[in-house]
Subunit: 247 residues, 2 copies
Amino acid sequence: MTASPAARPALYRQVTDTLRARLDAGTYQPGDRLPSESILAAELGVHRLTMRRALEELAREGLVQPRQGAGTFVLRRPATLAVTVPLTRGEFTSSLRAQLETQGQRYTDRLAGSEVADDPRARRELRAARTRMRRVDSFLEVDQEVWICSTAWGPDRLLRDVASVWRQTDGIYGVLLDRAALPLRYVWRSFGAEPASVEDAGRMGVKPGSPVVVREGLTADGEGKPVLWVRRRARFDRVRYVLHYDS
Amino acid sequence: MTASPAARPALYRQVTDTLRARLDAGTYQPGDRLPSESILAAELGVHRLTMRRALEELAREGLVQPRQGAGTFVLRRPATLAVTVPLTRGEFTSSLRAQLETQGQRYTDRLAGSEVADDPRARRELRAARTRMRRVDSFLEVDQEVWICSTAWGPDRLLRDVASVWRQTDGIYGVLLDRAALPLRYVWRSFGAEPASVEDAGRMGVKPGSPVVVREGLTADGEGKPVLWVRRRARFDRVRYVLHYDS
DNA sequence: CAGTGGTCTAGACCACGCC
DNA sequence: GCGTGGTCTAGACCACTGG
């Protein structure tokens, strides 16, 4: 019913399983440096390229992280942070930041860049045919790791000089709440997945093509006019989004 | 601020971009078979392995799909289906099925297997220390493609003989609604991402390690007792989940 | 500058689909 | 049985990190 009578899996896949078993067993501990690719290849009697393919799988699963020139390191286990998604349109509590604080983890919302730019998708989402628009990039760093890359689009009028009012604890909504007189409201949020772009992968320290959780959202002001379209890409092994219906 | 002064990207990455440009330009049309790896490699003057790495990226992005023995085919563009997630705990309308029907797409919810089994995670979620539990696997097929793989856990009492009452239009909730006298309610839903397992990847026709959207959820009966824990893995280029706050 | 991961070419064999 | 993608080995060079 499954496939042919269980053909022997490819060698690199067997190697992956061997290494995964060692990680599970604690042979290699989080933070440890693995033996070099050549050593491991020799030990298991395979070519270095085959070993690389195996290690690549593990990297994609978020178990290890290769660093050129330094070695391949065992990551700490995916203790995914469950970010609560509000079920009503008015709540703007950031469960993410609240949770990080209660767990005593240091986080910083860094502004990566900001420029006046144009994007058809953003224009459509914000229903802004002629407004001058600004794009703001930022990323959330937790315990030395980048967990989330964000891109926000909104009218330049509201986002001008973000750098000067940026607070590393509040992110883009902090800027907006300061400037938009009226209260903010959710219009929609969406959740999906995607392969990491080369740029995001570099920032997050994962392989290009690794899964990232994509959360998009549109926020409007009190009159219902869309003011911000945000697109967040988060490390799949660090972040997931939860809806609690028990309220 | 980004990295070193733009080192020349790796050759395989340049090849990826070349091919991606051709796909964007329509040089290769959806449904077409690409020239073989050897031909393409020769044409661009690279080794076949380098070409393979490039094609692998495109496959991971959901743009092409290699089929052993047959060739590499251009997939139709990711017209992601937006599945509406209800904001109240009682609604059990399946926006997915409704949308597929209005779009005139044929779908089938296939039962893949069912067995009495045990799983610590499922036991914990369902708060069932000693109940005999059953696992039910199914997948949703749309237009010849598998879009979603599901695994559901619940008390054997409610899931016995699923095969005999399974309707290909209703899936697991259909079974449950038939048997649970009381109305069902959501307890929570969560959204994340993950690399596709080898098994799921095979069923969905994607590469192992490709991103999949993971939707988990716990459902309870009218008295609030958890009765079903579901874990869905969906193709990232076909499904995303949306919350509309504008109701 | 030694050692590590990252890339690339070369050439071979295998498993599978299709004709 | 031919052509396709899938795997594996061999050996080389490069880019980067760290002492």
